[in-house]
Symmetry: D2
Subunit: 350 residues, 4 copies
């Protein structure tokens, strides 16, 4: 019963099979394997972007940091939501890869940037000329860190503001598939058609072992990206194993099915949580993650039985008044079974 | 017939099996999986170093750059052989991870640092006080980039010089197993017993998909390394797949067997090359790599039949006088069959 | 009538004389001049800190960035007020010198950090272990960017919070003298006796041409600072001219007199501004800088007559309704005459 | 009797006078002073380059590091002579300002790059594609670190090689005036007419207190340079004092006269040294610096009388066999008097 994160789950069997299959014989290293051209074609087709530049790395942080660094000078600032992964969960990786750029934090409910707040943040930057850091790209997380999802209109509104000021736009899509499945839109609609210039397209949290694609819709900085990736030590010699994962992930829309499955698992979980006496779920989850306030006794029962998920604060004591509500985060990946979900909610109900 | 590099070959079946097996159920992310403690114990046992700090990353460049950066201030210089991987093949990754340290290049025949040259290089550094970069660690590649191997005495002599000046020592062991097998020594003898402070212990080139261990024999900077690894985007969420590879690699001395196998394959290849009319092999290979001068016609026959390996210069024309010697590099990994090797040498012989 | 900044004024005659005097004959370069030991002694005496480490640089930004970088790892964050000079006016110099550390912005009225806000900011940092940036030093600006002054108790309260979490503390004293004069306290009382570990002690804005002292009350990182200063290209070969300025500045408490004079000039200016019909001065200035809201017509009269100071926004149009209030900043240095101040206020009164 | 360095001497009276004169009244800060446009014009006129971009900084290291960083990506390498100031005397400042670029060291007699060695160094760089660091600018020191001077033809030959490979060229002119005076050429002839793209034009060593101009003959990266200068903390608020020095230095060809005077002083010194019994001067000095081998007893006499200059090694013992030759470096600036020079040679003669 591990609901701690979608990175705690296994590979999907098709992804694993692809690795097994890729293990035959020799392949040229460093991205020159025979699988990678197919991956490139698949992504270009899915994204309806025949000119797109496509690269693979193994971690979401690498995808974000390398993509952003390619379009951020050291004396610029990246506009990001206050709770964005790049701000809170990467130990300063964007600052490292950009050689010291800033992040300007933008507020907004539900971990989604407020357009007015973004505009104010951009307007407030660089006003002191050479004394100020300058304006850099805008990065949007979709689905967000709290499981909400921008509508296509919301994305377009933010990117329009960015473009008004000549700024590039990045989409951190560690949970791209969950968002795309929830919105029922195409990959193109959620990205370049909504004004996005570059994408971190996540596979790791959604059925892969460790692979993310970096996609640039304009190829002008492709070679710079390659140098940055190598210099960052993220160019794999046995690249075939990244390619294989991504090929399986993209074949037959597996990525989208797994995203939809994870969302459905979460919806089932929420349904169950609503039956826990005293439970409060402030926001209806839109993707595969739920934040709930549950009675201490419910947590105690679940955790005593081995359930894993995060409490806030992380050291919230389980011995205390039974009825007191403690906030928690639960995440479902594609691999959860109905039985496992129901087992957890049964435990919580007591 | 791919003899281009030992990173062109597949995973050993045991390593692949370990990945398959690791794919069951949930595992806590970011190095907190249940396999990693066993990996740590295996390495500590093999290296007879019960206090050693052990971390996994996915590329050799990451292992080198992160290990060195942990012990190099930005205003210091790393002493490395002129043809070391950190100098020639990492696109400045050490400079990036150290935030701008230098590399001071040390000469020496056969890609092995000459002790006197090392001493001169160290003595020549930092003499101008605050105006000079300061002395940093010494890094040794074993086996070297040209397939030679330092004897234990040679390593000890270099590390003794380093320690005389209070400098740390690093061993780039991307081909650790090949060297260890060739010397018939223990992992401990080739490292801390010979004065080495930190090791990049390679798995990728020797039967794994992408895993390297960074080993510090003193734990004082463990936490700093963890922060650097995360910040460098090299901390894997689904870390279990790194752990699984490394566990299989270390179990039952698979690593050493594969290293020995690769060396034996190379020896067989050399034997065959010696039968090619006109062939010149200036240095007897000690590990799994051979540099040979072969007649153009021999190369043409082999490459026309699909053989892959590197020529020097890389654009050496195959249409020209038959007898002219062209230098080449051929590398064997563990997976080469006798038949494949013999097929290549037969083609070369014509 | 230049009230734009205290860096628009000239050197005090004593400082200029010191430069003229220092121009005789030879002096060893790079801080080894015969004046520097006297500077060191003067600062140690003024600060009652016989062990303090003292270095000179030529710009306030260099003093701040080098001092902070010496005590901030790249994966840490510096706690600074939202409008601190290090955040708003240095084009990311702290990020550059620290190799990519963050700044965590702390709120507080009057450009002074609120203690509760500081505590919350510190508590909120590093909670995600290796995924978060880690806690670094706290920097306080005294006098602040808006001309307010922390009381000694306020400084002590902030540094106590920092020390509770084991964090170092820095005081950006570009206007150290103005604050010290206003508080009527000693240099020691405003720094180490109030819990400050390192100081940027400004001379440039207060009668010098370009010199700032960096003072560490603990000498442990002295050598590292020297290397960072050299590497940052801030070690002057003809260092004697920095030493000479600072010696004159410290002799006979010139620094304090000039700070007091600048404050008094500002007080006279405020008195005058209060007589301008319609003027609003929300906060009583405590140092040498006033923010006032004045009728457009008043600004027009002054600027037409050649007065220089900053409007907010900087492009506020002077042609518009006469009575509308426009915010402005006026700064006095030591060199302003009563006549010049009165001339400005007469113009504004109309 | 200080012959240690040309940075041990005073400002020329005209430069000091300019500072005194600049100290009247108010000036807008940060390069917006009223003197700077005249400086810009003077440099454009001297260099016959009406479009040139001109900036001032206070140290030669800042000029070099900022100029080079503006045209060097972090993954590139700068081609420099093995004994160049950027390599040996800046504590890694180019590496810091470029965020981790390399320096590739080029050999050549008399501290002058050998054209064939430069070509080989360039050809040997970047051959491994993404695995190698890429080719960056070529930097030439004129006059060199050992007092030799490139002829115009020699400069043109090196820059032609650079341009053949599309590389930018930089001239480190810390001793620009000495070289220009010795060659009897114009500033334009020694720079852009010989293929140089950017210049560090030194004032500090030649009669100023601390000022160097950075000159780009193409203005495309002017704004980037300004941001880098600010971020590096090298933008002076009281910039007028830099402008004033440079204006005086350029007025009436003072810079050239002082360079010629320093060279003549050195020639007189060499003449004197040649009369010291046993003296060996391997290379005839071309600028203002001489390396000589003198008997120990001569050194002892001079130093006992208070003479200052550098011995090699720096800790060469003065008590030992009288006749043994010890190598030394002596540097003359413009301010040396004939009497002082003759006093030194008289002492050495004994």
């Amino acid at each position: 019963m591990n609901f701690a994160s979608d990175n705690a789950g296994p590979m999907h069997p098709s992804v694993l099979d692809a690795i097994v299959k890729a293990n035959a014989g020799y392949e040229m290293p460093y991205g020159n394997d025979t699988i990678m051209p197919r991956v490139r074609d698949l992504i270009r087709t899915k994204f309806e972007a025949p000119e797109a530049t496509v690269y693979l790395v193994a971690t979401g942080t690498a995808a974000n940091a390398l993509a952003l660094a390619t379009y951020t000078n050291p004396w610029e600032t990246i506009f990001a939501h206050r709770v964005a992964h790049v701000e809170e969960d990467e130990c300063g990786s964007p600052e490292f890869y950009t050689n010291g750029a800033k992040l300007t934090l933008v507020e907004g409910a539900g971990a989604k940037m407020d357009p007015d707040a973004l505009r104010q943040a951009i307007k407030g930057t660089g006003q002191k000329d050479v004394h100020s850091v300058q304006r850099g790209p805008v990065t949007i997380t979709q689905a967000t860190e709290v499981g909400t999802i921008y509508t296509l209109e919301e994305i377009a509104r933010l990117t329009a503001i960015a473009k008004e000021y000549g700024l590039k736009t990045h989409l951190d899509g560690a949970r791209f598939a969950n968002a795309c499945a929830a919105l029922g839109c195409s990959a193109a609609e959620m990205t370049w058609k909504a004004g996005i210039d570059m994408v971190s397209f996540g596979g790791t949290k959604n059925g892969c072992a460790g692979v993310e694609a970096v996609i640039f819709f304009e190829p002008e900085k492709a070679w710079e990206f390659e140098l940055r990736r190598k210099r960052g030590a993220h160019l794999f010699s046995k690249h075939r194993y990244l390619s294989a994962q991504m090929e399986a992930y993209l074949t037959g829309n597996l990525w989208l099915e797994l995203g939809a499955k994870a969302n459905a698992n979460c919806a089932r979980l929420v349904e169950g949580l609503e039956t826990v006496a005293g439970a409060v779920i402030p926001d209806t989850p839109e993707a595969n993650m739920v934040f709930a306030h549950l009675p201490r006794a419910a947590h105690r029962r679940a955790m005593d039985a081995g359930a894993q998920y995060y409490l806030f604060p992380s050291d919230a004591p389980l011995d205390g008044p039974d009825g007191e509500l403690i906030r928690c985060r639960m995440v479902c990946d594609w691999s959860k079974s109905a039985a496992e979900i129901d087992q957890l909610t049964a435990l919580l109900r007591g």
